[in-house]
């Protein structure tokens, strides 16, 4: 089963005079777990923003296979929320939770695009409305259980410890019911034990929800162990793409990382 779920062709973006991403190509096959690495400021997060439509493309094309109709859709002219509804979920490097809302509400907000009742139902508190609320809540609690956050569902997101905020970001992305998940440094700031647990969790949800995952991560050993393929960015350009073994002996990659960190 190798059907592409995402295809980015020659995508570029220019900020002022800076070509932050330059003719980047990426194809993700269904079920893959691919790593996106590169030195600081290489353009990794910008690639995520381009794929999700948060930042408009300067040139290039992106096609995503919708989880609804199974067809590939060009994201040209689509807004970020429309792209998300194709089945694309994401987390943010600099945690962007709805901080003064509860853990539960953070998840339920991701389900509104599945809502079938109207605003009139909400105002009049109809039976349909209550049933749907209960369904959203039940689904959220189920997801929170996976992340061991269910007993904290009524806490405000801002009161969670840092590591749990990162987990909540993933849970919130999963609540949109995605098939493709983009994780931007999910383990940043976690200690080795937390990182290990998180990786196990990511592997678990990948299996459970049959996800395709694109992962940005700075921890090399982690990327090398977890990912099936790795793309390497430097100054906005893809300098290598291949299996972890291939990447670790690629001269261009070694050069890009010299003085940064040892692989």
């Amino acid at each position: 089963m190798s059907i592409p779920i995402l295809q980015a062709k020659e995508i570029s973006v220019v900020f002022g005079g800076l070509r932050a991403v330059s003719d980047f190509n990426l194809t993700l096959m269904e079920g893959e777990l691919v790593g996106l690495i590169g030195p600081n400021g290489a353009g990794k997060t910008t690639v995520f923003n381009l794929l999700t439509g948060v930042t408009p493309l300067s040139s290039g094309e992106i096609a995503i296979r919708s989880s609804k109709d199974g067809k590939a859709h060009s994201t040209k002219g689509m807004k970020a929320h429309q792209i998300a509804r194709l089945g694309l979920g994401r987390t943010f490097q600099n945690i962007r939770l709805f901080k003064s809302l509860t853990v539960l509400d953070n998840l339920r907000i991701s389900m509104d695009h599945l809502r079938r009742t109207t605003i009139a139902d909400a105002i009049l508190r109809t039976r349909r409305f209550s049933a749907e609320e209960e369904a959203f809540t039940a689904r959220s609690v189920e997801l929170l259980k996976i992340f061991e956050l269910d007993d904290k569902k009524d806490l405000l997101a801002r009161n969670l410890p840092y590591g749990e905020q990162r987990k909540l970001e993933i849970a919130r992305a999963l609540a949109t019911d995605p098939k493709l998940l983009l994780l931007d440094e999910p383990a940043a700031g976690m200690n080795p034990q937390e990182t290990k647990d998180l990786m196990r969790l990511i592997a678990f949800v990948r299996e459970r929800f049959q996800l395709t995952i694109l992962l940005i991560e700075h921890d090399m050993s982690l990327v090398m162990n977890l990912c099936e393929r790795i793309a390497v960015l430097d100054y906005g350009q893809e300098i290598a793409m291949g299996t972890p073994a291939e990447i670790s002996r690629n001269p261009a990659v070694i050069k890009a990382y010299l003085g940064e960190e040892e692989i």
Binding site: T52, A84, F92, F98, A122, S130, E133
Partner: protein, 329 residues
């Protein structure tokens, strides 16, 4: 299901209790007509401030022209009552609807932009509406104002009239609170609040944030218009120059004073504001200076307002009392 029924009954009960208390105190003369009128005015201010809180406190979009929406509702209702002899209730509702149409028309081009465009646009809108109302003399009476708008009640018994006026305002107040609070505590309402929290995160979770801002703004304009319609029948006289920029700022002050993102806070804020303004009248021209200073001090030392973004909950209070009682046994 059961719990919700209890909640509803408690709210209904406490609303009725407050209403009966005020009405009977007015009937026996403890609250005189002057204070009944003041309470009614406060009710109107609260309705408009609640509508503003929906867009500014809950959705996070600063709006500075709610006097404009209020005046649209006020003039629409007054004109339908006076020129078309329509009864008050449909006229007030029409005032809300016309105001909502204006809200939609202004929000549509503005709300897709990020940032403070709404503040600037609504500010300009408020001023334009005022000028337009001033110049539509045939319809609005222009700068001479519109006089002789029929009141809610004109029985000749001042006490009874005051009570009936208050009853109208109170009924609309309850309906406004119920609608906005049910909206906020629902799935679309949570998305509205998520726009305030983080617009980019909300879009990335599949939410059409522009659409939700539009909904919040249109509903907001509707209730501001309702407030205006009630105002016209309560005061009986309208003048475009009353609905100026400073008047819009009053509602921002009430919402901030009570706490942005708190409905019960707005209610308290509206009461404090109306009564403070009235009591400070003894200071004559110094009133505005003192009032302004008080507000500045308040905002420096008490930034989150009376309630912050929390709610005062009668049902929560009752439940807590009962739980305590239960434990003691």
């Amino acid at each position: 299901m059961k719990k919700k029924g209890v909640d509803f009954l408690l709210l209904l009960g406490s609303g009725l209790l407050v209403y009966c208390l005020i009405a009977s105190l007015a009937w026996v003369g403890v609250i005189d007509e002057y204070y009944m009128q003041l309470l009614s005015v406060a009710g109107v201010y609260i309705i408009v401030a609640l509508s503003l809180n929906l867009i500014t406190g809950f959705t996070g979009q600063l709006a500075l022209g709610h006097a404009g929406f209020m005046s649209i509702g006020a003039y629409t209702a007054a004109i339908f009552v006076m020129r078309a002899s329509l009864p008050l209730l449909p006229s007030v509702l029409l005032g809300g609807l016309v105001s909502a149409v204006f809200g939609f028309a202004i929000g549509f081009p503005t709300l897709r932009l990020r940032g403070d465009y709404l503040a600037i646009t609504t500010l300009g809108f408020g001023e334009i509406i005022r000028v337009v109302l001033n110049n539509l003399e045939g319809l609005t009476g222009g700068s001479a104002g519109l006089q002789g708008i029929p009141s809610f009640s004109d029985t000749g018994n001042y006490t009874l009239d005051a009570i009936i006026k208050f009853s109208w305002i109170f009924a609309f107040f309850v309906a406004t609170v119920a609608t906005i609070s049910n909206l906020i505590r629902s799935s679309p309402g949570r998305v509205i609040v998520s726009v305030r929290e983080d617009e980019i995160a909300s879009t990335s979770m599949g939410n059409d944030v522009t659409r939700y801002k539009m909904i919040a703004f249109t509903v907001s304009a509707f209730f501001a218009g309702i407030g205006g319609g009630l105002f016209s029948a309560l005061i009986g006289y309208l003048n475009p120059s009353d609905f100026n920029f400073l008047y819009s700022v009053n509602f921002v002050v009430i919402a901030v004073l009570g706490g942005l993102g708190s409905l019960t806070g707005t209610v308290l804020g509206g009461l404090v504001f109306t009564f403070a303004q009235e009591w400070l009248r003894v200071l004559g021209d110094f009133r505005l200076v003192v009032f302004g200073l008080l507000l500045i001090l308040l905002m420096i030392f008490w930034q989150s307002g009376i309630m912050g973004n929390k709610e005062l909950s009668i049902t929560g209070l009752v439940r807590r009392i009962f739980r305590k009682g239960g434990r003691a046994q």
